[in-house]
């Protein structure tokens, strides 16, 4: 299994566009945001977190653009299916690799940008775990979308699975309010962690069924 993770990283690391692209898009959105607020720079933090969550959502959507497509096109997925080892485990390892190379840096950048914008260190440091968990959830969901629309273009998959990601956005928005008012912030983290633990188990299973249906 360690070997599988290593190989997945090897593949992803060499595909610079796949992992650097989403991070750059995230950076660009974060830079573009203050430019749109014109001269009222002191009111920057009002809409900042909404933009942050949406930027994470968009960059995760871009990250999963070809998560399975390439392996599907060159026949790698077929080999994975006929191997004896569990296919859904392979899927979850893949998603983990993507999260580690894209989700984690994006979350860290989110922390830096929120510290830069709000100047509130304790608030910004709490953004970090929220971003980590939510980016993992988004990656799982969009991986599902990508598997559904394999080789039909990534936009279709994104449209189809975007509604599934909306509850997470709502929870993120609400947890931020809880953070600012300093009330039971921890329960939101636990809620997100709970849903993440369910998603981590279920999504790779469903994705493996879907990919098998594709290969038929």
């Amino acid at each position: 299994m360690i070997n599988l993770i290593r190989l997945e990283f090897l593949k992803l690391r060499k595909k610079t566009r796949s992992w650097l692209g989403p991070i750059i898009v995230f950076l660009l959105i974060m830079i573009a945001y203050p430019l749109t607020v014109e001269f009222l720079q002191e009111k920057l933090e009002i809409g900042f977190f909404s933009v942050l969550w949406i930027a994470i959502l968009i960059s995760m959507m871009l990250a999963t653009e070809d998560i399975f497509t390439e392996d599907f096109n060159d026949g790698f997925l077929e080999l994975m299916v006929i191997q004896n080892s569990s296919f859904s485990l392979g899927v979850s390892i893949k998603v983990f690799a993507y999260w580690f190379l894209i989700g984690v840096p994006v979350s860290f950048l989110g922390f830096i940008f929120s510290y830069g914008t709000t100047g509130n260190f304790s608030l910004s440091i709490s953004i970090f775990p929220l971003a980590l968990i939510s980016s993992y959830i988004f990656l799982n969901l969009f991986a599902l979308g990508n598997s559904l629309s394999l080789n039909k273009g990534s936009v279709l998959g994104a449209i189809v699975t975007m509604p599934l990601a909306l509850p997470v956005l709502i929870v993120l928005g609400k947890s931020l309010t809880a953070l600012q008012l300093d009330i039971n912030f921890l329960s939101f983290i636990l809620l997100l962690l709970g849903s993440l633990s369910i998603i981590i188990v279920i999504i790779p299973l469903i994705v493996s069924y879907i990919i098998k249906a594709h290969l038929e």
Binding site: N3, L7, L10, K11, K14, K15, E70, N73, D74, G75, F76, E78, L79, V81, I82, Q83, N84, K212, L215, E216
Partner: protein, 190 residues
Amino acid sequence: MNNNCIISAENIGHKINENKLFHNLSFTLDKGDALQIRGKNGSGKSTLLRIIMGITSPTKGNIKSFFSNEVCYLGHKNALKGYLTLEDNINLMQLNRHEHLDKYLNNLNLKKYLDVNVSSLSFGQQKKLALLRVFLNNSNLIVLDEPYVGLDDDAHNKLTEFLNSELNIKKSLIFTSHISCQIKSSCLDI
């Protein structure tokens, strides 16, 4: 049914969107036997291979397989990553610690390309690289889809020789090919 049987198919048929590909196919494959599947373009040779490996399920009939470890499969898509070097691709196939790796790299004239990106290799060289998976296999059943396409005479002979030696040690082989070759095999026409 004897113990030697690896795959037995009874009256299997397959159709896509009501288009019949083939129907009422029956065959058995024993250990140490080779089966060549012949047929016109679009007659469903590749689909039959996928049914044998269990990726696709037949729409009619049933197929039983009795092999224990995984299949060694090489299809039209050779599962190589163009943006990785040859060495990394061998890593990816998990063959990098194989004892005979060096021998076959020399044999197939691939040794000098180890640092080259696979996308800059020629088609035949890529095919040879993909065939490494076959040469270094450790499974009882080898399934090949058009293995001879794109190979030069040298590699062609080496592959035939290798497959014959595998059959001698009681491994089974299923392949599709247009050309007749020097492998002692029974034929299945679809």
